[in-house]
Assembly symmetry: D2
Homo-oligomer: 455 residues x 4
């Protein structure tokens, strides 16, 4: 019976129209059932890029569409591997197509544990989207688990182990999670499409022509070096220009302080939150279950912020309004040599009347979980390998000057965030009172960065 | 002072990256302030296409991005009119560029009164997005009003009158609202982009090359006839294939019944709703203010549905789950000749155990507010006029066989909606019990339509 | 041996990068050899759209790239048919994949008989590209023949019979040649891409999802009706706006008259042409062989025109210059009711000093060999059929108002061509002398058409 | 009068549909006249990328369309400069719009001196496309000169001096010719479009947003650093993957040897060439005039090759056939350390029976005139400068790791070319005789490169 289920294919292939991949093709009943599960449908209500849509208004796409995209790329890789490199003909390096279903399920579900504004939320409420992904796959109460378990009793664990990278077949693992995997390839193309930028565009078709299985995982034919190189550069450009955009981070720090402040206030005024913010309470009080988690989405948080914006705690209300109405904090960059100015700036900000704890922030893009290519620093990263005509492998950065230039060092910046009012542009009498303070504050800023000496 | 404000232009033009128009260019301080207003920012939280994203998963874009797009097309038309057809050179038919600001504001704000799932919501709760658009523009408490009033005391009314089509300059009115206006041009292109279909694609650049002001409004040079024709065909294709998609409508009828049922239940159990659905209560009890309305968005409704899906009223809970987890009703078409079968089908549905009032629906696409080109039937529609070399005008359908074929008659269909379970595919014991009923039900269906005689 | 050759597939699939289809995939040695043949390589030197590139400067693509495109679409259709509708499972309507090679070869070679500016050239020199296609396939001296004959002795005849539509398997025939075939689908998309227009764009991916084999040929699933409808509309738009463009036709009539005049002059002054126009002589004297034909291409004709433009026959030289330097004849439309004015106009043109035979022309777009959808008029056209859920067929125009509006009647126009000088814009003294004549001439023209009564 | 001509603008702006820039807009009568000149129309008959279309079959576009594109980008830059940085407001760094016409003419005509297969042709026949560009602009017999001279007597010289970079206004010079100019921006985008690759795609709109005039020429706002960086990377990718493609170079060396051999043969057998190759004779005998040069185009050369391919000199005929029928030489890379093997390989090739002088070649991509970013090596290159908020300038490579990685060093390779027959794949008896020689030859090749030690 479970065998039968894993082999059940749809009489007519089902497709989902997709702006990035044209069509997403579903052939297995298992995949269709997973898409129809309530845990997966919930991803429709969680934006892929969180606060980025405050900067790039087109980027309102959900984790649902990204997950379908990762599935589709994985499916295409499996097709190519099956056609060109079957294990039957390549016993050492070939692809065993009986791995297809586990790969497809892992691809589809790799983000199933994400919640609203994940990276901010989990810092504050101690949730962890990777653990939650595993939990959803392996908890008997989830529909996802029930579907996976119909395939085979240990299938949920298998799929979870792909995400955890402990699955024995490294081809499957690296398809879903490596420096150049279906996940990254989809999000770069998708985020580029929806933001309307072109930096993330690389030649997926060509990469799929040169990808091939290898006994240690995934590799690329030497002839495709420039295509892989181009992907790495696109990735870099997307991080620099989209993911690390200072304005989106200026909204993210507001969200972060708003949730933190709400959590603190809950300790003092639980009644208010228990009345208005029902679905958030388990997180405010630290006693949440998987079921509680699965009720959250972007809309739940936003609808509580709408209520909070009318509450009579002035800070909670002000931060909620700034978030809902898109009033990002402004920022300047700093580095080790100018870090010492931060306390001075905070002091001025406090003097003007802001709670400096709540109204300033330091945001370092290196800390953001969209990771970057740094093989030396993080040993677990699998290298990208190129296969020469005679079968020997070369590591990508050895073959590409461009990749070598980007490899092994962090890119990004550190920014100090503060209220826009400090720039003295806000045309309010309250600010005018502090004109000297503002002038003093701005004397520390030059070309968008903190400087040591006042102008 | 107000004069000054209307003339205030940004020292450096501000742009918003847009996937459809590449960049949205903002030159006036007024426009920037309107975009920053809380009423306008709220449009970020309202999807442009409502339940369509359940069918086309890419279509998650908001009314915010559409509104920017309409503004941008209007701005481009103003530029073209100013450069090529200024009133100074064309006293009879030319464009008076002092009308630019009122046109831009009306374009930007034309949808400001929309709420979550507008068309469904307003049927049930007696809100009206057009009246609300006017209300937002002209109510002293709104930020939008305050910005518009800074331009001139009667400027809010002026902008509102453009939307109401009573503004004297019909060039401005028709730019925003006519058979081929900035609104329609943006949504066709935008919806095509985000759904990933190509039907809505037409040649905007070429249309902008042939558009020109006329003393009675807007017209098009004869040489652009095929470009206008192509726009009309694209519009038709989008309605037939995207806006009237049976599955999206199968979600819409669920939403409709869910809200109606909730409203009815509120009468009996107000406590439950007052506890869980704070922001919706003013609508459930029919005593809402503009301020109440402005707190609603898609996320507010969805977060209440999440709570409702756990309530112990089985119908409320079931409908909420069907909506959240995307379990659309199925449908068949019918017409005047087969309408008589509907009571029979409802009876079978009731026999199987469904409340037929709640679990069936008739949806006619002609009723959907995405209107269609039918000049004979609705007199107020302004025709599309083509200008010949010698200055005489021709109505579009006179010049185009294709448009003539589409003009003057409704397109779409009428569908009867019912639970998927009636098709007998759901693999549950409960349904198996009613096998004969299901067979009887399906005997009335052939090629997706109701038939009179049983098979 | 021949068997072996037909089965020989490349160890690694070869691809050609293509802007329209992304990649052209070659799997058979036979196909690669055909592409490498000198007759096929010659297509690189023949423009797909002839004089159209004088109007749309991007349209400089060759018959070589179009031929690859037709091959690629055919290959994709075969793949779909093989996967979804194999004859093994569908004995009545299914696809027999042993027909693949004949289909691919016919697709690749369907235009192999085309020469430079085919449609003009063959009118004058009595060549016929369809007969020449057959001749190239079946003449022992051609490389194409030698390759095809290696497959099987009668394979050249088989492939030729597909082009002639006499091949027994009508699925193969209709794939290459029907109202909606790989040929038309490629040229619409390709010509739209290279001209930079969007009219020709339709949803190829979707059409390939709904195409299916039928016992009588090719049909489309009912669910794809709108996609097929959209293709028909795109086709119509391309004809109206690109293929029938008056300026391209204004160059075509010059070319036509230039070649005709050259042929006439040859009779009187054979020496001149035998000295300068070596490769054209067999056509000027009507004694050409297949080998002579295969030496022609666009560049050959153009290089003779360069020489002719310096010859001392003033008409030959003037026409050659007009063609090389793009000085199209101008035109006005006329119809049955205004045809009587033509002799009057010619008389004025003669009076002004032009040889009216050479310097005027009538061009009717209906006569142009880019054919159009007119089932009633030309019985041999196979209809486009849609398959309903229960298997019954419907003819497309029965299901689509748009197609019905276009079907069964010619679209296009008739134009009278004459020298630009007649419009009196040329700023030369010679013309100024005839001012009254020009005024008289122009009094017969209104809104781009001939009128009966003078203005 | 001349004044009047320079100011004459078209009553209605004329447009050319362009697949890359959508529309080319022509506003000046001067520009329209230049486009209509016979010297400019001739560019329609010269491919932009020469032998590249043998590898990327879509790349059949002409220098005509590229020239229009360069004009259009220049026009857009002028518009931006005029609107945002007029000299009236920025006396030090601003743009003087009276320079527009000279800039537009220089942009349009910058390639007017190119002939067929320029880079190969001019090596052999001592033509120089830059000198010829100047000659065409300043020779009284050319139509281009006559048009330019109508503007002002010294206008032809002015335009020519822009091309020569001696024009005093460096803003104009750098718009047309610098590391990031309208020429390079157009050809990258255009070549990417027509080849169907995506490497050349960069964000033109964004670059046009950050470009600005500077007293020393052209600079870019700091905020656009990544857009400029992306352009540099795209440029690098196009060179590596398209312009330096080994197969195109394998055709180019054949062309080179064919023309050289023809020239040598002419010395011995002038009669043959004087009879068949009329338009080429002035170049074969080294006594050509500008008028002779202007009669050449790709088609002229190809039509002579067609004749040559039947001549009884076996080498001339064989090379002509290889070129017409696309039989590229094959190649392997080598470097300083393996250069010593070349004489050995040539010897084997000669032993097999090929004239090693004619049938082998060394091609170094560094020598190709598509230049590359190497500021240290070639001092005359103007650097790309970024403008910081406070007005100070930074050189691009100082701000970009990626550009720094590419700067200052050559990229490309050196290849040794030889007949495909040497690889032993050609299935001919003649080759089979030399099996040992071929084996020996191939023992020097590994992973596509020459190796010192035999395998």
């Amino acid at each position: 019976m479970s065998r039968a289920y894993s082999d059940m294919t749809l009489p007519i292939e089902k497709v989902f129209r997709d702006p990035v991949h044209n069509y997403i093709h579903v052939e297995h009943q298992v995949i269709l059932d997973l898409i129809d599960s309530k845990e997966f449908q919930r991803l429709r209500r969680i934006k892929q890029l969180g606060t980025t849509s405050f900067t790039f208004h087109g980027a309102e796409h959900s984790r649902f569409s990204h997950s379908l995209g990762v599935y589709e790329i994985t499916r295409r890789i499996c097709n190519i591997f099956k056609r060109n490199f079957p294990i039957e003909d390549n016993p050492e390096n070939g692809w065993d197509d009986s791995e297809r279903l586990v790969a497809l399920c892992a691809a589809l579900l790799h983000d199933i544990g994400h919640g609203p504004y994940s990276h901010t939320f989990e810092n504050i409420f101690d949730t962890n989207h990777e653990e939650l992904t595993t939990a959803i796959m392996t908890s008997p109460e989830s529909e996802v688990y029930q579907i996976l378990a119909r395939v085979e009793a240990d299938f949920p664990e298998k799929v979870a182990s792909v995400i955890a990278k402990t699955y024995p077949n490294q081809q499957v693992v690296q398809m879903i999670s490596s420096q150049i995997d279906a996940d990254r390839m989809d999000y770069l193309l998708r985020d580029a499409y929806f933001t309307g930028t072109e930096y993330g565009t690389f030649d997926l078709t060509r990469i799929l022509r040169v990808i091939r299985p290898d006994k240690h995982g995934i590799a690329f034919q030497m002839s495709g070096m420039h295509a892989v190189e181009d992907y790495i550069v696109s990735r870099y450009q997307m991080y620099m220009q989209v993911y690390f955009h200072p304005v989106s981070r200026g909204m993210e720090v507001i969200l972060d302080h708003l949730l933190k402040y709400g959590k603190k206030l809950y300790a003092k005024q639980p009644d208010y939150f228990e009345r208005t913010s029902i679905l958030l309470v388990p997180f405010l009080n630290g006693r949440f279950t998987l079921s509680d988690y699965l009720k959250l989405d972007d809309g739940v948080l936003n609808s509580y912020f709408t209520l909070w914006s009318e509450y009579d705690d002035p800070i909670l209300s002000d931060l909620a309004k700034r978030f809902l109405n898109r009033k990002p904090f402004k920022s300047v960059t700093f580095d080790a040599s100018t870090k010492e100015v931060l306390p001075v700036l905070k002091e001025i900000i406090a003097k003007v009347g802001f709670n400096a704890e709540v109204y300033t922030a330091v945001n370092s893009s290196y800390d953001l979980p969209y990771d970057f290519y740094r093989p030396e620093q993080e040993k677990f990263r699998t290298q990208i390998e190129l296969i020469q005509k005679d079968g020997t492998l070369i590591e990508l950065a050895q073959a590409s000057d461009l990749v070598a230039a980007l490899a092994g060092q962090g890119h990004g910046d550190q920014r100090f965030y503060f209220p826009k009012e400090m720039l003295g542009q806000a045309d309010t009498p309250a600010i005018t009172l502090f004109e000297d303070d503002l002038t003093y504050f701005n004397s520390y800023i030059k070309n968008g960065a903190i400087q040591l000496t006042k102008n």
